[in-house]
Symmetry: C2
Subunit: 248 residues, 2 copies
C-alpha cells in the first residue's frame, strides 16, 4: 500500500485510468462516472470501483464511494504526461509513418505505455516540436483552446475547425471524408440538424458528428492574437485567409 505513487512505476492500466479521467474533463466539465469509465474500457463497474480504491490508496485520485472521482495534483500530472506522449505519438504516426488519422489513436494507445522518454524526445525533435496533433488537440495538454465551441451549439455563420474528437472512429472517418479537419473553414447554414458547407460539399451532420467538431467563429476582418496551429497531416483544407484570433 504505497502512499504516494512511485512515479514511473505506474501500470499501464493505472495510466489509462488517469488519462481517461483527465480527458473526460478536458472539453466538458462533468467529471466522469464509474459507468463512464466502465464503458470507456469495455469493462464492468465492479472492476472500475476496485480500481478507484487502488488509485485512491496510491494518492492519485480523491475518491469516496458513490461520489465522483477527481484527480489529485499528482494524478493530474501523470495524466497530462501520458496525454502528451499520446498526442506526440499520434502526430508522429501520421506524419512520419503515413497513418490515417483514423488509425493513429489505437496505435498510440499501445505505444504510449511502451516507449521510453528518449523515444519521445527523439520523435519530438524529428517533428520539430509540433503544437497540435492530427485531430487538433494541443500536444501540451495544459494549453487547451479555451474559447472553442462544438458545432452542435453553433449558430449560422462561418467557422474555423479547431479540433475533431477521435472518440468514435466511424464519426472521425465520416468527418474526414467531408473535409472537416483542423484548420478547415466551414460554414453552418442551418442548425438542428447542423448543415455544413465545406470545401468538399454540403453535408447534414448527425448529432454525434456535430458534437465531435470544435470550432472558433471566423471574424475575418478583426485582428487579434494568433496561433500557428501548424497544419498536421497531408491534405489540409481551408483556402480563406484569417488565421488570427486570441488563444488564451
Amino acid at each position: 500500500m504505497r502512499d504516494q505513487a512511485d512515479l514511473d512505476t505506474l501500470s499501464a492500466k493505472v495510466q489509462d485510468y488517469l488519462k481517461a479521467i483527465w480527458t473526460a474533463t478536458e472539453w466538458d466539465g462533468d467529471p466522469i462516472t464509474t459507468a463512464g469509465l466502465a464503458e470507456h474500457f469495455g469493462t464492468t463497474m465492479a472492476t472500475v470501483s476496485s480500481a478507484m480504491r487502488r488509485l485512491a490508496a496510491a494518492g492519485l485520485v480523491e475518491y469516496r464511494p458513490y461520489k465522483p472521482v477527481r484527480l489529485t495534483r499528482t494524478g493530474a500530472e501523470h495524466a497530462m504526461a501520458m496525454v502528451r506522449r499520446h498526442r506526440l505519438l499520434e502526430t508522429y504516426l501520421a506524419e512520419q509513418l503515413g497513418y490515417e488519422w483514423t488509425q493513429v489513436h489505437d496505435e498510440a494507445e499501445l505505444l504510449e505505455h511502451a516507449v521510453s522518454d528518449l523515444f519521445i524526445a527523439r520523435i519530438d525533435d524529428l517533428l520539430g516540436h509540433p503544437e497540435f496533433d492530427p485531430h487538433g488537440d494541443a500536444i501540451d495538454p495544459s494549453k487547451g483552446s479555451a474559447d472553442a465551441e462544438p458545432l452542435r451549439v453553433a449558430s449560422v455563420g462561418d467557422y474555423r475547425v479547431l479540433r475533431v474528437s477521435d472518440a468514435q472512429v466511424d464519426v472521425l472517418s465520416a468527418l474526414g471524408d467531408m473535409g472537416v479537419r483542423p484548420q478547415a473553414h466551414v460554414r453552418v447554414s442551418d442548425t438542428t440538424p447542423v448543415v455544413l458547407q465545406t470545401a468538399k460539399g454540403v453535408f447534414t451532420l448527425s448529432e454525434a458528428e456535430a458534437e465531435a467538431v470544435w470550432v472558433l467563429a471566423a471574424h475575418p476582418k478583426r485582428g487579434g492574437g494568433s496561433s500557428a496551429h501548424g497544419g498536421s497531416g497531408s491534405g489540409n483544407a481551408g483556402s480563406l485567409g484569417g488565421r488570427r484570433s486570441p488563444r488564451r
Copy 2:
C-alpha cells in the same frame, strides 16, 4: 486451459519466454535451463517453473519436470515472429531515430510487445526491407549464418565480423569502441587471450568479448559460401573487397 494458444493473444511475458528459449539455441545448441531463464529475466526458478507449466498447457513448449524445455512448432513460430519484430525495431531505432547500438536492445524489447503489424510493415518499408540488424543478426530469423564461429575459438588469421552479441551491454560498448562492428575486417594475431587488430588499433580481448564476436574467415581470393550482409548502421568499417556469393 486453452489447448492451442489463441495466437496473438499471448501475454508479453509469454512472448518473452518463447523468445528467450528460441534465442538460447540460435548460436549454441544447448537448450536453456530453468536457471538460465531465471537469470535471464532476473526472476526466481519458481517463477520460471510455473510459467513453463502454463506454456506447456498452452501447447507452446514440450515440458516434463526436471527435463529440458523445448519449443513446439507453434511455440517456435511465435518466437521467430517476435525475434523478427525485435530485430526490425532495433534497425529502425538505430537508423531512423539515431539510437546507439548499445541502446536499441532495451527499447526494442519494450516496443516489440506494443506495436501493431501495421507499424512493423511500415518501418520495414521505410528501411527498405533490411536483411540484418545493427548487431549483424539476420532479421528473418530462419536465415542464420551457418558457418560463423566466435572469435574465442578462431585461430590466427584474417576475418570478417558477422555479428556481435548484444547480450551484455558493456561488452557491446567496448567492442564498438574498438571498431568491431558487422562487416569490419579484423586480424587475429594471437589467441588465448585473443589479440585483435582492427581499423582502430590493436586490442586484447576479454573472454566475454571474444565470445561475443562471430566471424567468418576472410579468404580474399576464393569464392565461397558467404553473405551480402548489407551493412546496417552508420559508420561501417572494412575497406577490403569481397562481397559476392550466394546465401542459400
